[in-house]
């Protein structure tokens, strides 16, 4: 890893070096040759089929009325399965439960974790590192192993079959996202900016809300999106709490796949993907920009 001074020197040199070198960069190396290009082409084709293939295959099922085996296309099209899904009461309730419970989970998780994230970034205190690693342990240990042991506690606290129980189970999956990613974001806000604002006469609270919080917002946004998806996708724990009347969309998906025709599950899959896709597209810039990656390095 370079020191700060090295980086500055390199940044200063960079434009010159780049201009002179760019032609050579393209002509040399393994990827420059024809075989390299073919290799890349094959890999891209493989990735398109590997990543998108299953999703498109599933999406087409949602509109297929019947399908004979070796055909790559259904025999005829229908919207019947969409009607089945929209007229099924249990599915509607599951959608409703998911859309109410997941935002609640994100909200509670933010209230619990964001002050801690700020503390991890800005203060040094007793057992700080132990705490950071301890929070990571919830992520390191397999969820299912955790839930099997959690059940005893839930029985004892009468949390089985309750909404509170579901919310607690889902919060456990969001804590790492909600502390680590915002902590990295808070740590990246330059102190000099805050001090300059203080010198200009801004109050502490004003500095926090208009400088620190605003600059850390992309990180918090990524954390919120990841937490929402973690809560929204969480099925095992919710399933284990066994709250039949509080079935959420993913738990419903388990029963659907076992009890309904393939096409109904396909329709439901599309519906279940909508919130994730919308949210991820909204936060895409920051996730690709490194906020997520930055959050997982202990500092």
């Amino acid at each position: 890893m370079t020191t700060t001074d090295d980086t500055a020197a390199i940044v200063a040199q960079e434009p010159r070096a780049r201009l002179g070198q760019s032609v050579r960069m393209r002509s040399s190396g393994a990827f420059g040759s024809v075989s390299g290009k073919v290799l890349i082409g094959v890999f891209v084709a493989f990735m398109v089929i590997f990543i998108l293939g299953p999703l498109l295959w599933l999406a087409v099922h949602a509109f297929a009325s019947s399908w004979t085996f070796p055909n790559l296309w259904p025999n005829s099209w229908t919207l019947r399965w969409w009607q089945t899904v929209f007229s099924d009461h249990a599915l509607g309730v599951a959608v409703q439960n998911s859309l109410v419970i997941s935002p609640l989970v994100v909200l509670f998780s933010a209230i619990i974790c964001l002050p801690a994230a700020y503390a991890f970034a800005r203060f040094d205190f007793f057992a700080r590192r132990t705490f950071l690693v301890g929070l990571f342990a919830t992520n390191a240990f397999p969820k299912m192993g955790l839930f099997a042991t959690l059940a005893s506690l839930f029985y004892a606290l009468n949390l089985m079959n309750t909404v509170v129980g579901i919310i607690i189970v889902q919060i456990l999956g969001t804590i790492v996202f909600m502390t680590w990613i915002p902590a990295a974001a808070f740590a990246a806000v330059p102190r000099s900016l805050e001090e300059a604002a203080r010198d200009a006469g801004a109050s502490r609270i004003r500095v926090f809300f208009s400088i620190t919080l605003r600059m850390a917002m992309p990180g918090i946004l990524v954390a919120a999106v990841m937490s929402f998806l973690a809560a929204f996708d969480e099925a095992q724990g919710t399933y284990l709490v066994r709250a039949r009347e509080y079935f959420t969309m993913p738990t419903e998906m388990y029963t659907l796949v076992l009890n309904y025709p393939k096409q109904v599950a396909a329709v439901f899959s599309i519906l279940l993907s909508i919130p994730s896709v919308v949210l991820m597209l909204a936060a895409r810039k920051h996730i690709m920009g490194g906020q997520l990656a930055e959050g997982f390095q202990i500092r």
């Binding site: 980086t7 998108l52 205190f125 919830t138 099997a148 990656a293």
Partner: protein
């Protein structure tokens, strides 16, 4: 789409200096407490009481579970009993599942690392629209809930799925991967790829251009630059990607539950059926601890790599 590393080293360094300036802030400790207490209560307590239950202590928190559960071994010595562990570890079914779990974890992690390194290196060394298409594709699974992904992958590779259809159209007998260990590996790679690509691409992107070009001027080829400069420089992100992938796969339930065979399957599925279907919570918890220990070993590697890099940068 441009993958880029943020958080300049200067800012991180400065904030660290400030942090050590205000040593041992009681306010910081209090602010950090809420998530710690939640984790202690809802993860720490169950884990300790589960450990006691697996050793045959059936009182306290474990009384209800041990009353409901079948085939519970009770402690016969002051330190408990290893009967549940003996029973599980002499069960050939469990040993086969353990083998499958380790195999799927290692193979998936290697494939994910290989693909993420390839995409990351191509993005860093060449750039361009094709590289952006590749990284964009690799991140798509992050958008899709795992339940749906598993089910989509099952139908894609099943007996009447796309792969077999394509083979059949050209008159060949294609492989049926649905409900096999191969499908579990495919599903695990599919779902783990985005995080690994983001992590590794961000690490490689942070390497200064000048270093790569100096090596190239000195006559180093693509492979030499990748092995001698890129990989050591991005060591921590690569370790994080590897350990998170392995930890995610080793404890996974949804992917093997949907795509895998009935037996032998991964331990995440087996321990769930022991808990919910066979009603043998003690045996289920023994299996959970087996995964716990394996994940703990992988997690220790992650913590070691992070602290090593923190030391290198003078942050500790």
């Amino acid at each position: 789409m441009v993958v880029n590393a943020v958080a300049p080293p200067r800012a991180a360094k400065e904030s660290r200096r400030h942090r050590s300036g205000a040593r041992l802030s009681p306010l910081g400790f209090v602010m950090a407490l809420p998530p710690i207490l939640i984790v202690l209560l809802f993860v720490g307590v169950p884990v300790v009481s589960a450990l006691a239950f697996s050793l045959g202590f059936t009182g306290g928190l474990n009384s209800i579970v041990s009353m409901i559960g079948l085939n519970v071994h009770k402690a016969d010595a002051w330190w408990g009993t290893l009967a549940a562990y003996q029973e599980v570890f002499s069960n050939p079914q469990f040993l086969a599942d353990l083998g499958v779990t380790v195999l799927v974890t290692v193979v998936s992690a290697l494939i994910v690392l290989f693909m993420a390194m390839g995409i990351g290196l191509y993005l860093r060394m060449r750039g361009g629209w094709l590289a952006n298409v590749l990284s964009g594709l690799a991140v798509i699974p992050l958008f899709i809930p795992v339940v749906i992904a598993s089910w989509a992958i099952l139908t894609f590779y099943s007996g009447d799925g796309f792969v077999r259809s394509v083979f059949a159209l050209v008159g060949l007998q294609g492989p049926t991967w649905g409900y096999t260990v191969v499908a579990i590996v495919i599903g695990s790679v599919w779902t783990s790829l985005p995080f690994a690509v983001l992590m590794i691409a961000s690490g490689l992107q942070a390497i200064p251009d000048a270093m790569i070009e100096t090596a190239r001027d000195a006559g180093a080829g693509f492979v030499r630059i990748a092995v001698s400069i890129m990989m050591p420089m991005a060591f921590v992100p690569i370790v994080i990607a590897a350990t998170f992938t392995a930890i995610g796969v080793i404890g996974s339930f949804t992917v093997p539950y949907f795509t895998g065979p009935n037996a032998p399957t991964m331990l995440g599925v087996t321990l769930t059926s022991y808990f919910t279907s066979y009603n043998q919570p003690q045996q289920s918890i023994v299996m959970a601890f087996t995964i716990f220990i394996a994940a703990g070993a992988i997690g220790a590697f992650y913590v070691w790599a992070n602290f090593r890099s923190a030391k290198d940068q003078g942050r500790v």
